[in-house]
């Protein structure tokens, strides 16, 4: 199974402000930059509880009938009628094997499990503080640059594959 990240950040690398707001991202996702094409290749989503609650608060469920696994050790707020939502908890290895056992080949992931492909779309703004894209990682992770594309509104989309990890000096 392949796990991919597709996310928008500020130029300084934040996915949200410290209070969780992402008002600095363009409304409605901004100009088309491949999100729909990317989502078409994905057969499940894996999201954290915070993202789930943020998405619920948006009002309209954005993932259609695509199976959405929410990583949480606590019961979830009820999902909208059309959504296919399931709670999941466990170690990254357990989660991956569970997804594989369910026939998932390509998952969109926003945290919690090991990622193979990262697509970051940078919005042309510095916001100074917020929630970084990645939390603490135990080792350096080296990447392979796949492609970078720019859009008229100033978005820059870069795709990377995870190449490996090695011990950094800490």
């Amino acid at each position: 199974m392949k796990a991919s990240v597709f996310v928008g950040t500020s130029l300084d690398g934040f996915i949200a402000r410290a209070d969780g707001a992402f008002d600095f991202l363009p409304l409605g996702g901004g100009e088309p930059h491949g999100y729909d094409e990317f989502m078409a290749t994905v057969d499940a989503l894996v999201i954290g509880r915070k993202t789930y609650e943020t998405v619920l608060a948006l009002g309209a469920w954005p993932y259609g009938t695509k199976p959405t696994f929410v990583l949480s050790t606590h019961p979830l707020a009820p999902a909208p009628a059309e959504a296919v939502v399931e709670r999941m908890s466990g170690s990254p290895v357990e989660i991956v094997s569970l997804l594989v056992s369910r026939g998932i080949q390509h998952a969109y992931v926003d945290g919690g499990i090991t990622i193979q492909r990262i697509t970051i779309t940078r919005v042309p703004v510095l916001i100074g503080a917020g929630i970084p894209l990645f939390g603490a990682i135990p080792h350096d992770i080296t990447l392979k640059h796949i492609a970078t594309q720019q859009y008229p509104s100033g978005l820059v989309k870069s795709e990377y594959e995870v190449a490996g990890r090695h011990d950094g000096k800490r």
Binding site: L11, R17, A18, I127, G154
Partner: protein
């Protein structure tokens, strides 16, 4: 009086997760082994010609110390014979005539001293100085060289920004080394009000 055609660029290389150095200042991760076949080559002659267009460098004390340690390890001095201004209140070793120390008001230094004397002025870090330069509305351009690595923690690209800074994308380049260089213009009046405030910095 500020020279009309002087240009202040903030340039730094950072990891994909936005760090310019590890917590202890180390930049040992800068050399990555990635190869991006479709990328541009950094031809030494082109790099040389480009570096010649830079008239002076401005840096913080820790960036200066990093440059000194690189030189001590035999990697050479990265800033050629260009005037290099180190913003610091500390007493630091001065290893060459081109290095000058300055402590005091940054806006006064840039507008009163640097802009009248130099056309192409490069701020090369670190995060605190770059943040101050941007916050005070002194920068015209932000150049961000992104390396294909995640290091998880460290010193951030910009420190102490007190609001949003909308930028205008000017140029994108991908290099064979896997590095992606983004160049943005800083729009709006220098030192003018910014559109929004960050509510909480922690």
């Amino acid at each position: 009086m500020a020279s009309a055609d002087s240009r202040v660029t903030i340039h730094m290389a950072a990891s994909l997760d936005g760090f310019i150095a590890r917590k202890d200042g180390l930049v040992d991760w800068l050399e990555t082994s990635d190869e991006f076949a479709d990328g541009d080559t950094l031809d030494p002659a082109v790099v040389d010609a480009f570096l010649k267009t830079i008239d002076c460098y401005v840096m913080g004390s820790r960036t200066y110390e990093t440059a000194l340690s690189f030189e001590a390890k035999g990697f050479g001095w990265a800033y050629g014979d260009k005037p290099t201004f180190v913003l610091t209140g500390r007493a630091l070793p001065r290893t060459r005539d081109t290095v000058e120390f300055y402590s005091g008001d940054l806006a006064q230094f840039v507008n009163g001293h640097l802009r009248p004397a130099f056309r192409t002025i490069w701020f090369v870090g670190g995060g605190v100085l770059s943040g101050e330069c941007l916050r005070l509305g002194l920068a015209d351009e932000v150049r961000y060289s992104i390396l294909p690595i995640l290091i998880g923690d460290g010193i951030r690209f910009f420190d102490g920004l007190d609001g949003d800074f909308p930028l205008h994308l000017a140029e994108v380049k991908a290099y064979k080394s896997g590095m992606v260089e983004l160049c943005y213009e800083v729009r709006g009046p220098r030192g003018g009000p910014r559109i929004a405030r960050v509510r909480n910095t922690q």
